[in-house]
Amino acid sequence: MSRLHRGVITRQSRPPVAAVFAENAEIGKRVAITARLWLRSLMLVIGLVGTITSQASAQSNITEEATAPTMAAVAASSTADHSKFSQLAGPFESSQEVNQACLSCHNTGAEQLHGTIHFTWNLQPETAAGSAAALPLGMRHLTNGFLLSTPSNVGSCTSCHIAGTRFDDPQMFDASSGSAAPVDCLSCHEPTGQWTIANFHEGGSTCSMCHDERLSGDTPEISDLAAVARTVGPTTRASCGACHFNADGGAGVKHGDLNPDLINPPVTLDVHMAAAPEGAGFSCSTCHTTNEHFVAGSRYEGGPGRSPEHPALTGAAASCQGCHSATPHSKVASGGRLDRHTDRVACETCHIPAIARGETTTRVLWDWSTVGQLGRDRKPMTQKDADGRITYATEKGNFAVAGNVLPTLIWSNGRLTQQRPGSELPASAVTDAAAGSDLAEEGDLAAIAAAFAEAPWVSSYEGDAEDAQSRIAPVKVMHSVVPIDAESHGLAAVLFSGRSGDALWNRFNWENAVESGMEAANLPFSGDVAFARVRQTIPVNHMVAPADQALGCVSCHSSDGLLADLPGGFLPGRDGPIWLDQIGLAILALTLATVLLHAMLRIGFGIYHRRARHD
């Protein structure tokens, strides 16, 4: 049995905090009931407050009724039945004909979409007056630890673009250029998501982008476009998930909290997405409210503390507080105490105790430096561990996955510091090639984190305990070994695929692939490639667990808890005024020493005099 397997099983078999509470619940229950009665009568006696509902019961009894609306309250109701529209009767030769039919009624649709980040993959952050304009954010500009960056791979990456067709010309992202790409209504509004999946397969996207091994078998196909066109409706979990559940290379690879398990999840996996009545039966757009095709809740905007004044129900931003308010624990025992946390702790910290809790794992390590090892047949190959998980692929190098991952807790104000192709890393990040291959085979998340403890961040949230806007928030930390320019230590853009022999996945020559990539990104390149260890924080906002699985007090309020290593703040159970403890303990020690000395003298003199103190 591989260590990967053992590591994952260990994490899965670790009892959730709630279970630990549950064990004690039986003992606690009797105490709790008595204690509750006592406490209530005590309160009355001292005349403090007659309405105190404090009880000594643990958080295990939490059954908070969601104050958020159920699906029934927010379900879209429409007076239009698209299955009966003559415009959609077909037949259609291509999706472009379908789109023309859509836009013949929805005549501002293309214009609206052209301005959204879903189309432009570009976001110009707001800058304070007088300061230099910030560099643009968005997928077109940034780099990450997965499929690196888009500028050199527009042709491959755009297989997921809402144009519904691949394109190579970056001008096509820009609606003002005159050569903007079209919009494909079906990409988001075909409710099963199968159109999107079939479309980018048929469109000839690069297999290796998503598939770690070469699969045989048919690609999904859609034969009757008219039938598909007549099913259109609001976005669904499946249609959004066709891209977002498979971000950066397959199911759950990038996001531990967003994967295909959410298409029909049990309530234990996600209370919002599980079907009613156990869950709330939400779709993505219930929270990610949409106005003129602008979808709220991008990770580029808004931090964990930003949104109380932007309630989601009025159509502004996806946030927990939008529906639940900033003080949501009023129905819970000791709720006031819990509400006291919301100015410093993001909701997700306690309510998403682990990510990738379903069947789908998430990638935690990706070592690009080992790309290009061929099999005995001189063809690309894969290596697997005993459980069948792929630990190496010729096109992608070594990687490791994990399930039931405990998020890393950081201070975050929601602002991302992002690197982009060309961003120079410190020399200390440079690493030997194949640095991650042993780690990938062992698959031990703790060992991976330790090996990357000093690695710089290609993407990280800003924030610290001193900043009032920062909250303690959970992130997934991704560990990657990525190509850089050996001289400048700048992050490399890489041409992955295409007809050119320079493409990495054609001849596995890093120098040529980076040369072409840097050229596409308009960046200088020395001609030599090196590799660097980097890390990345990935936000964790989904897979909200039922309240009884939320973290309990002891998870953090102890010296070896989840926040043991997080600097800053004052955390009872972990911190104390050290000087006060020192003085206090000194007083206790002095008192004890004095009485012991006094006692010894009494005994000693008693023996010496061989008589009792008094006659």
Partner: protein, 210 residues
Amino acid sequence: MTDTARPKSKGIYLFTGFERFWHWFQAVLVIFLLMSGSEIHGFYSLLGFERALNMHVFAAFTLLVLWMFAIFWHFVTGQWRHYVPSTHLMWATILFYAFGIFFGAPHPFRPTAARKHNPMQAMAYLGFKVAMAPAAWISGLLLWGYGMFPDLYPGDLPILWVNAIHIAAAFLIAAFLIAHLYLITTGETVTAQIKAMITGWDEHGGDDKN
């Protein structure tokens, strides 16, 4: 330090039933509060933070009620007069504990119904009653209200200082407890004083003329 023969006498009745109930109930609660408080503070882990906190709060309110009864009792019965500080025999008492006790000197003070405590004792108990205990319960109530009734908490009051005062009071009370536990063995015999607090009768007490 063995008990020696003396005329059999029940002595004087110093501690009434309520006083003894108050004393021992308070002892149990204070010890529990110190233990659970240490856990909340992070010195060790036994009950778990949340349970320790809930039980700490529960014990604290119980103690507050007990103190309300005790304060009532002090004033109604006039027992508060025992805690009025006095310098009478102060030096003699200090010298006894510093030297005389080792050489078999008699205690300079004999408890009577009119004055139960020696001057050092009275001073220490007064310190506990008017300084340590109020510091603990006032800061404790504020800490409790901070979590339970955020709207009523005065925003200008730095909670970390309230917390520091609570911890400081706890350390002083713990030191008081250590000293107290030792000093009760310094009576006429090792167990004389604890017997008095259990039965109410001080075998070595004097009449009021002392």
